[in-house]
Symmetry: C2
């Protein structure tokens, strides 16, 4: 048998095993052709990609090396005896092959695939094949089966309350941090709103990244439940709560391939919300030329109908609102700058971004309508009252304390560069995608203080040489990449005056 | 700048770069999210996946490590100063995204994608996405554009002869080594037949693996041309000749995903043959329940038509023959055992496999009909004459010498195990796929002598306890895996006598 070793290499999403070329027990070349090997110790199994090591200082002939991720997943100590075998491909690959060749799958076949994805048995190549074949054609029943399979493939939260509200925004709009205002408003009213959020994958900040500026967000399921018991609401990262883990894996392949079909979007969001134990869900679909959904008449409506269908078949009450997605919401893009905007709105500060306040009130008001004790149509006014009175702010402070206040002061990146208006005119358009890219290059979300501070929004008048926005970066190399990129294209469209 | 280092890890198909977690110049975590980095030295670029190293004995803070494959592709010495940058995704990914979402692509868009695939700019995930979207729907014009793009993305051979013949078999039939008999017959007649063959990917032997038992097969383009000048024919591995390199890359993803659509098959084969400078091509489509094509009336005919269409649009004369694919051809499966069968036929030995001889004569005869000097319908008789007279054998010896005779004696694997008939009866069916899997587990093609020797074919009578076939393996671990697998299912169907 071989002795287990942690090689000390971080292979990101891949699970990798290493064998010496002159391995004393197996011929590694033979296994490499199989693409995956099964690492076995007692009844523990781990599927891993094999790499062969010619450098004798990395691994000995009687050892089996694992990457850091693989070692952690295997959960054994170094030196534990292990054997290997060619990996049996998961049987659900047969269903995948049928789907690739145009067949429709049964619910239990989709369940098998999703279960194997959640258990890390699929390679990125196989996941891509599944997603692209689904993007080609998927029946409504397949979407429903996929949603349920994903929801039940991880943890499921249960709440001791008749109404549990939640909201979700079909991303793509930088700075759109309404959740951090809506949660304290709704919780201050007394409805349960246990919000799990994502970290950024390709965007400059997810709600979890921004909330982390203020408080600890990587709570366990039990810690989260205790926060919600005390405060009625929370804003935590979903990663440790393990709701619909298959969704996170699918998303990691969907993003780089630009797959954002209606079907995937609905299955992804609804599975997370079902697992979270929500009863009432509000979906925000921003529509704009650089948002995910481009036109409200056709695309947004078809998306709405699919949400409503899956909601009604799974017993989750769904409301969909179409919002303005033509430009970023608020002024800051990047965790620290966005957190600044959120707190300014909660504190009713002079100069707090009006668009962020207004949109948060709209959605919070709509969520409050789920409360049978409230008179129909009075949700918005109630939300406004809770915000203006400071009740929402005090609930937010409670939530921050309960999750664990971040005591290290946050500050914006000190390397700054302003992008100036090239002509006199009126701001005509702002490309959300382009600005997100700039903020990302500047270091967000890894550097909390990196990002963009917007000075002008659509409709504003500018004179030549006036700053449109300021880039903040923390490191010289990032600063270089970013300013070069932004100087080549600002992302702002300006209509010259006549 | 960082200093280049060869890490000494064989990462198979992946191009991998390694940075120390405490890298002195960059923050590796930031780059890992981009999935690929661009390694730069002067005007040399290499796209690589990034892994982060926490083990200080593997790499220093001022070094950039490359896997063996990446180091070779970069082509620089250790210590060369390099920089890195986030990789710009290839612009052809935009076309891919359109294809995923159901659009039809223009020829130049397909060209761009294929060019980027050939230049190793696509990840396996992206290749899978392209292949699955093509499997979903592809117009005939897209197939044609893809064929041409693939043919022109690598080397192109040119021959100083009006007629250049070639043949290709739609795989799946173990032991089917007709090429090694057809080439010497056709070359002995005087027609040019420069044959490039593949090595096995998922099968127990490719023609290149089997020919390698007799002679060197990894010839360069120039060495191949010189062999053909002398002998009129050759049987070499296509890998060094670099014909349609994109095809090899696509195949490495098609196989594990089980993608074998008509469209992919035609583009793959026709691109190789166009690049090889053929004028006349014979396609052999074996039909059988465990072959790639299951029924001759529908599937095989539609495949034939697509071959003929692409042939006529690219000026390559194509003939398609449908053959019997219900069982292996010849007795041996695995390089040494197949080479034994081939030489037995060429030497007109008593007991040489009749099916292999007959099929080779049929195809060679059909190819000879391309010669205008030959009277129509006399091809088969001419082929028979060249084989029976020993002319083909002597041409084969010439080809072996010209390519470089293998002087190390070959021998079959010494660990043997016989699978016995469980009942009296008549052989009803032989599962080609299952036997290939057994031969592969036994070590073929890596161990030339590993494989299966068949004693019974379809229609033969057996008595209980009589051996059906013998497994040969060279290593104890393989022997263990294989005998266990074959004892669980022999791959033979036997109809009991009444």
């Amino acid at each position: 048998m071989l002795k287990l070793k942690n090689i000390g290499i971080d292979t990101y999403r891949d699970t990798v095993a290493f064998l010496a070329r002159d391995c004393s027990l197996y011929r590694p070349e033979e296994f490499q052709a199989f693409k995956k090997i099964d690492v076995i110790s007692g009844d523990k199994h781990l599927l891993a990609t094999l790499m062969i090591v010619d450098n004798k200082s990395i691994i000995n002939a009687d050892e089996l090396g694992l990457s850091e991720q693989a070692f952690k997943r295997m959960g054994l100590t170094e030196g534990t005896p292990v054997t290997i075998a060619p990996a049996e491909p998961p049987t659900s690959l047969d269903h995948l092959k049928r789907k690739i060749h145009g067949h429709t799958l049964e619910p239990r076949q989709i369940e098998e695939i999703i279960g194997d994805v959640a258990n890390h048995l699929y390679s990125e190549m196989e996941i891509a094949a599944f997603l692209v074949s689904c993007a080609g054609f998927m029946t409504t029943d397949e979407v429903l089966a996929m949603t349920k399979a994903m929801a039940f493939a991880g943890n499921q939260l249960q709440w001791n309350a008749p109404i549990v509200v939640d909201k979700h925004c079909i991303g793509g709009i930088p700075g759109n941090r309404t959740s951090m205002i809506i949660v304290p408003i709704v919780a201050a009213h007394g409805l349960l709103i246990p919000k799990t959020s994502s970290r950024a994958i390709t965007s400059p900040a997810g709600t979890a990244d921004t909330m982390e500026v203020l408080a600890k967000v990587d709570l366990s399921m039990h810690e989260m439940q205790s926060v919600v018991e005390t405060c009625k609401g929370c804003i935590v990262w979903g990663g440790h709560v393990n709701l619909s883990p298959a969704d996170d894996i699918l998303i990691s392949v969907e993003r780089p391939l630009g797959i954002d079909t209606r079907e995937q979007m609905v299955a992804s969001i609804m599975s997370k919300k079902l697992a979270a134990g929500s009863t009432h869900l509000l979906i925000d679909i921003p529509v704009g030329s650089s948002a995910k959904v481009h036109n409200s008449a056709g695309d947004a409506m078809r998306l709405r109908k699919l949400f409503e269908y899956v909601g009604s078949e799974t017993g989750l009450h769904v409301d969909v609102v179409i919002t303005d997605g033509q430009q970023p919401i608020g002024n800051g893009i990047g965790p620290v700058l966005e957190a600044r905007d959120v707190m300014a709105v909660l504190r009713n500060e002079y100069g707090a971004p009006k668009d962020l306040r207004e949109k948060s009130l709209q959605i919070a008001g709509s969520l409050l309508e789920a409360d049978p004790a409230l008179r129909g149509g009075s949700g918005y006014a109630r939300a406004q009252q809770l915000l203006d009175s400071g009740a929402a702010l005090s609930t937010m402070e409670q939530i921050i304390n309960a999750q664990g206040r971040n005591t290290t002061p946050f500050c914006v990146g000190e390397l700054t560069h302003e992008i100036l208006a090239p002509i006199d005119g009126v701001i005509d358009a702002i490309d959300c995608y382009h600005l997100a890219r700039i903020a990302r290059l500047a270091g967000a979300p890894l550097d909390k203080g990196a990002g963009i501070d917007l000075f002008k929004k659509v409709g504003d008048t500018v004179t030549k040489g006036e700053p449109l926005y300021r880039i903040h970066a923390c490191f010289q190399t990032d600063y270089g990449f970013t300013t070069k990129f932004a100087d080549e294209g600002s992302g702002y469209g300006i209509r010259s005056k006549i």
